[in-house]
Amino acid sequence: MERKLRRLFSRAYEDIEINIPRVEQREFGIGNLEKKIYKRHLAFLSLEELKAFLIREAPFYISYSAAYYQNPSAPMEKKGFLGADLVFDIDVSLEELEKAKEDVLYLYDVLKQDFGFKDIVINYSGNRGFHIHVRDPEALGIGKEGREALVEYFNLQKFDYKELLKHYTAYRGKKDAEILATGGILGPSPREHKAGFLGKFLTNLYGVLDEKGRKFLLKGDWRYVKSSHVKKALEKTRLRLDVDNQVTSDLSKLIRMENSIHGSTGLQAKVLSLEKLEGFDPWEEAVVFSKEKKVLVQMKESFRIPRKNISLQEGKLYRMPEYLALFVVLQKKAILKD
C-alpha cells in the first residue's frame, strides 16, 4: 500500500510548483508514515534538484528550516546560522478553520501595521491551520527571546491592565492625544488597526468614555477613567490568539514546506494570497489528487470526514474519489483495497 501511495505522491509532485527563497541555504527534513521527520540535515542546491527529489523519493512529509545556514547539511553546531524567517503557526482543526482564518487576518494586520513587515507569506498547513512566514531583512536577525516577545504580543499570556497603566505613565500628556490623533478614531483616515495594541486600546477607551472623559483624556488626564471603562476597552481591544510559541522561537525548527503535500491528509500546504484566504476551502483549493477517479477503501474504524459531513462505518467498503480515499487512508482510518 505504501508503494502505491508513494506513486500517487510522486505523480502529484510532477504538477506542483515549488518556489522557496534561498533554497540552497535551508535544511530539509523528510518523514514517512510513522514519523513526520525521520531524516533531517538534507540540503538542495537548487529548486530543480529539490523538485527532482520530490518526484523521485516522494516523501510523505517534507519540512524545511525557517533558518538559513552556510552549510545546511552539516551537523547542528557546524551549520553556520545566518538568520531565520519569522514564522507563526496557527493550528486549530479542520473543523475550526474559519476561526483560524480570523486569527491569521488579525496576525497579518498586526505584522504589517504594528511591526512594519512587508514580505509576508501565508500558507495553509495542509492539515489543521495556517503558517505565516515573514521574510523582511529586519525579521531574520531577531533572536529567540525577541521572537518569544512577539508571540506574547499575540497571546497576551502575562497581560495585566494594571501594568499597562503603570507603564502608561511614560506616554501620558500630549502623547495620548498624539496616539489618538495619528492612529485612532481622531485621525484623518480612521482605521482601527493603525496604532498598535496601545493605539487600539486608547481608541476603544476614548470610545467608551462620555464627553467629559474624552476631553480630559485628550489632555492626558485620566481622572474620569474608571476601571470599568478600562475593562470595557480591553475587551474590545484584545484578541487573544493561540500562536505556538515553540514554532516561532525555536530557531532550528523545521516547518512544513509550503506547497508540499501533507502526509496526514493528502492536502497541499498551499500558499494563499490574502484575497484567497477568506474563501479558502481545503477541499477545493488544496486538493492535489483526483476528484474524478474512484478508489475502493475499507474502513478500519468508523470515521467522519471533517467539513464534508460524510460518515463512514467501521469494516465497510466504500468507493470514493481518490482525494477522499487518500485522506481516510492517510488518517489511518482505512486501507486501500485496489
Binding site: A149, A195, F197, G199
Partner: protein
Amino acid sequence: MGLDKDLLARAKRAWELFEKSKNPDLVEKDLLWPLMVFAYFRKPSLYPRLLDRYAKEEWKHIDKEKFIEERIPLKDYLNYLYDFPLYYRDVRKGWVRIDRDKDGLEVLKKQITQKIASIPREEINKRFKDWRTQAEVRLLKVSSHPPCIEALLKKAKEGKNMGHYERLALALYLVNIRLPEDDIVEIFKSLPNFKEKTTRYHIQYVKEKGYSMFSCDKMKELKLCVAECGIKHPMEWHYGKKAQKTL
C-alpha cells in the same frame, strides 16, 4: 573595557575586596569591570547587582540623546528590551516608542552583557586559571553543588561510613573543582576509618592520573544519583558544558 593585560590582576584584587566586604556596592569603581567579567562566568548570582551599579555609573556620563532615539526600530527593541512586554508600548510600523531614561539604561545593560558574553569562555578559563584554585575554595563555601554531591558531602560530614565508589566520586569531584588537597582531606576527616596518609595518597593518585569526574550516567549506574537535576555531567553544575573540556 575588554580583556586587557592586567584584567587578571585587577580581577584578583576585586575578588579579594569583595570577599571581605561581600557588598558589591563597596567595590572600587575601576575594579568593577573585572569583577563583573568574573561574576558573569563564574558567579552569575552576583552579576545582576554588579551590572546594575556599573551601568548606572556609565549612564551618568552618556549623552542620552546621542545614545538612543525616542523611537527605536522594533528589531532593536527585540534585541535589547525583550524582557518588557511590547503591548504596553506604542508600536507602529516597526517603530517602538521608549522612555529614554528608563529604557535607555536597560539597553545599555544589555549591550554590556552582550559584550561580556562574547568573550570566549576558553579565554576566561585561561586567564583565570592561576587563581581559580583559591577562588574555588571559597566557591565551595558559598555556592551549591549537584544533589548527588550534596548527599555525599552530608554523609561525609555526619561521619557515616562510605563505600569505595562513594569516596571516589566525592574525591574526583573535589579534585576536579580544584579544591586544595588540604581542604579535601578536611572533608574526609570525619569518616570513621579515616587515615590521613591513605587519603592523601588517593587524592594525589587521582590528580596525577588526571581522572575526570564520573558522568551522570556512571553515577546512576553506581546508584549515587539522587535526583533528576537536568544536567548530564556533575561538573556542568559549576562550569557549563564548554568549560568542562579545559579543566
